[in-house]
């Protein structure tokens, strides 16, 4: 599973971090500080919840093969 990050769309709500601080990295101003990334095995559900917390739709879940 891959998380697609649209950095230009991030407005600094920090809801991804509030939901999954182990996964989402913010810069000092509270904006997403990551490019699109592959989710570590076992962290899929948390990553999905973090991505689905973004009010701006700056984070999307991309499924690579396998069941959705």
């Amino acid at each position: 599973m891959r998380i697609l990050v649209d950095k230009a769309r991030c407005a600094g709500h920090a809801r991804c971090y509030a939901t999954a601080p182990e996964i989402f990295v913010l810069d000092d101003n509270g904006y997403i500080d990551m490019e699109s990334f592959d989710v570590q095995p076992g962290q899929e559900e948390l990553a999905r919840r973090g991505a689905r917390a973004c009010p701006e739709r700056a984070l999307r879940v991309e499924h690579e093969g396998g069941p959705k």
């Binding site: 407005a11 709500h13 920090a14 509270g30 919840r49 689905r52 917390a53 009010p55 701006e56």
Partner: protein
């Protein structure tokens, strides 16, 4: 009728509605009123319609009824500016917000005195009545729903999620944007200079966006609400506001016995630019 309140000729008559956020049913301060619930009437309206006299200053606005459209407008700060076009390329490294403003240059010039005072007033006012209004609606809901109140007393760890849900259901700010150029939206032409209402309380009850939006669910998992707006002008105080609401709920519930709305009284809530509760009498005797 002054030109400010006249309906511009480019507005199709079939898209004009009498609804406005001050005087439509449920918006006026009334005992027992629920302005958020009253907005359900907008679900039967078009995605975009026009309302004369729909800002604090009496201007007409295009009213958006879908969260998706508000997201498009608020994220496009080039086409739709806030009334205060003051955030732009900045000079200097500021440690604090006041210095940041004093050092700021917009279109190559520093802000003048009125603009600086305007920004200062905005920052203070933005934090004054919004959080107070949000907590007022939260206490009102908890007072009227003893099961929900008891849930948070027994499980204080659920307060952050409950605070988010109440920010969604009882959001307080009706934002207005001004079009900088002509923009086409769902077959409607928003002309440069037109105002557009992006009411967070409407978006947050959008059935296309939230399952059972009128149901307050402290366990709601997907809650991408817009209490703090969308886009580059997202509420600069959102993080502080969240802390204030959560701490307010935690400390109140920890220190006060179970409370209810005082018998013989009814809360008075209202619509407008900032929705609020102007009278709420709690009783814990």
């Amino acid at each position: 009728m002054s030109s400010r309140t006249a309906i511009p000729p480019h507005v199709p008559p079939e898209l004009v509605r009498s609804f406005n956020f001050w005087s439509a049913p449920g918006m006026k301060p009334e005992a027992g009123g629920d302005p958020h619930a009253a907005l359900a009437c907008l679900r039967d309206e078009p995605r975009i319609f026009y309302s004369a006299r729909n800002t604090a200053e009496g201007y007409g606005t295009w009213v958006l009824t879908r969260a998706e459209d508000m997201r498009a407008v608020l994220q496009d700060a080039a086409a739709f500016s806030s009334s205060r076009k003051l955030f732009s390329p900045l000079v200097g490294e500021a440690e604090d917000f006041a210095t940041f403003l004093v050092d700021a240059k917009v279109d190559g010039r520093p802000l003048n005195g009125d603009e600086l005072i305007g920004m200062g007033v905005l920052v203070f006012v933005a934090g004054l009545d919004t959080v107070a209004a949000a907590l007022g609606f939260d206490f009102n809901y908890l007072a009227a729903n003893p099961g929900a109140q008891s849930d948070l007393r027994t499980h204080p760890e659920r307060i952050p999620n409950a605070a988010e849900e109440m920010l969604r259901a009882f959001s307080t700010v009706h934002m207005v944007r001004v079009a900088n150029k002509d923009v086409e939206l769902h077959g409607v032409t928003i002309k440069a200079g037109d105002r557009v209402s992006c009411a967070t309380m409407v978006a947050n009850r959008d059935t296309n966006e939230f399952a059972n939006p009128d149901c307050i669910d402290f366990k709601r998992e997907v809650n991408r609400h817009v209490a703090f707006a969308y886009g580059p002008h997202r509420c600069v105080g959102s993080h502080l506001a969240r802390r204030e609401v959560i701490i307010g709920l935690e400390e109140w519930l920890r220190r006060m016995p179970p409370f209810r709305i005082k018998e013989g009284t009814a809360p008075v809530a209202h619509g407008g630019t900032v929705f609020g509760i102007e009278k709420l009498v709690l009783d814990w005797s």
